[in-house]
């Protein structure tokens, strides 16, 4: 009935309910079809003004056919809800991947801060928790092989988790209409073995570390989400723009004026509230312990390059 890959225990559980409802449906639908066919044949009108009995109602029968089919419905409701709750509560040791959805692309960010689009690598046999947010309209992360799906709403995190049994490749769809290229907003979940996964992660990290500094900075500017508050074209978002600030003297609401240089960038990343730009709020989170030295250098180089 549902010839889709069952990639997890959860998917098998959902399919059991699916089959239970299917059998229930087939059973009652057969009663309708057989009853209908039999009555149409048996009681077909044979002559004009044929007499029919005045059967108007039968309370016992009414009660029976109201109550009996209701019982399996209660089963469906409970079973369905219990199973659903399993998909809602992620195990504590889950690998957490942040998902950012935007028109019409996906971005998957790993605990080490690296982001990739359109392909999510996960290890087999380990629960994966997705913490998802949208940058524009409502999207929906749909992974049919795992029978999971959740809307991704702007300004709010929604989450999902799944755990695959074995390596494989699974299709991701956006299931909430989001504009012209909605049907092209696809991605893949690639399940690796634990070793393959670690290898892949290391290889990616190495690639990033070997990039030239400004290029790495540019990558980090997007991956670390600097871009959500700081523009590079002079427009004001939540924080000041990076455009042309290198070497400028800035005014602060809580400190003496200072020049934008490497040290200033470093301090702003690690202790953002030490110097708060006049006219802005102290809302930037600290990146203390979250950035390597080389990454801080890269960001400084990147800001320097924005003339």
């Amino acid at each position: 009935m549902m010839p889709v890959t069952q990639a997890s225990d959860y998917a098998r559980e959902v399919d059991s309910i699916y089959m239970f409802i299917t059998y229930f449906g087939i059973f009652f639908y057969s009663i309708i079809v057989i009853g209908l066919g039999y009555f149409i044949y048996k009681y077909r009108r044979r002559r004009q003004n044929e007499d029919t009995p005045d059967i108007t109602h039968n309370t016992a029968l009414e009660i029976i056919w109201t109550v009996i089919p209701s019982i399996p419905l209660v089963v469906m409701a409970f079973w369905g809800f219990n199973t659903y709750m399993q998909a809602r509560v992620a195990p504590a040791d889950s690998l957490e991947i942040k998902v950012i959805a935007k028109k019409w692309a996906w971005e998957f960010t790993y605990p080490n801060g690296m982001s990739f689009g359109q392909e999510m690598h996960v290890p087999a046999g380990r629960p994966v928790k997705l913490v998802m947010i949208s940058q524009d309209v409502i999207h929906d992360f749909y992974l049919p092989d795992f029978r999971i799906k959740a809307d991704i709403v702007p300004s709010r995190y929604t989450q999902l988790w799944f755990q695959s049994d074995e390596p494989g490749e699974h299709q991701v769809f956006c299931a909430e209409y989001c504009g012209r290229d909605h049907s092209n907003m696809l991605a893949k979940v690639i399940v690796d073995t634990e070793e393959q996964y670690q290898q892949w992660l290391e290889q990616k990290a190495e690639e990033a570390m070997n990039m030239p500094l400004p290029e790495l900075g540019k990558l980090l500017y997007v991956n670390k989400g600097c871009n959500t508050c700081h523009s590079i074209d002079g427009t004001r978002i939540q924080g000041p723009s990076f455009k042309g600030i290198w070497g400028q003297t800035h005014q602060f609401s809580n400190a003496q004026p200072a020049v934008v240089d490497e040290n200033y960038v470093r301090e702003s990343l690690l202790q953002p509230t030490a110097k708060v730009r006049a006219g802005y709020e102290a809302i930037m989170p600290s990146f203390q312990g979250l950035l390597r030295e080389r990454e801080i250098q890269a960001l400084a180089e990147y800001v320097k390059s924005l003339k």
């Binding site: 809602r88 947010i133 940058q135 300004s155 991956n223 959500t228 002079g234 939540q238 400028q248 006049a278």
Partner: protein, 159 residues
């Protein structure tokens, strides 16, 4: 079976006068009560009953009493109970349904598992922006926190 009585009533008797009583006293008493209740509402607003929600609920309770008086006396529901009253009350039931279910959803969200990343910042790809003061910053108006010399430098590409 004879013709159903209730159905007969759908066509009222011709020429039957609708009994019209003089309710002026009721109306005067009602409007005075409403004035008093308005005063109470204003006074109650000056008192803090504990929390925002409690204050709101007290204000709504007084308003409900006032509205009920209007419905019962000005709108004559006190004297004509029947289909009209049922219609009116059923609307309130569905309003309550609409509000309570929606509120129930909004108040119980993220109770199973808080919908925030476990380590904020680790994967700080995107942080929901805090609420702005203005939807669109007003043109030509000074910044809310006063003058900012750096603003011009950063806003215009000339620098």
């Amino acid at each position: 079976m004879s013709v159903d009585n209730e159905a007969m009533e759908t066509i009222p008797h011709h020429g039957e006068e609708v009994h019209t009583h003089n309710h002026t006293k009721w109306y005067v008493a009602n409007i005075l009560t409403l004035f008093v209740l308005t005063a109470i509402t204003v006074l109650a607003a000056g008192v803090n009953f504990g929390s925002n929600t409690v204050n709101l609920m007290i204000a709504m309770a007084i308003a409900t009493v006032k509205a009920s008086l209007v419905a019962l006396i000005f709108m004559h529901l006190l004297w004509e109970r029947g289909m009209n009253a049922i219609i009116f009350l059923s609307s309130l039931f569905f309003v309550a349904l609409f509000m309570s279910f929606t509120f129930f959803d909004l108040e119980t969200r993220a109770k199973i598992e808080p919908s925030t990343p476990s380590e904020p910042g680790v994967s700080a790809g995107y942080q929901p922006a805090p609420l702005p003061i203005y939807v669109v910053p007003p043109k030509g108006s000074p910044e809310p926190t006063g003058g900012d010399p750096a603003k011009a430098a950063e806003g215009s590409p000339a620098h």
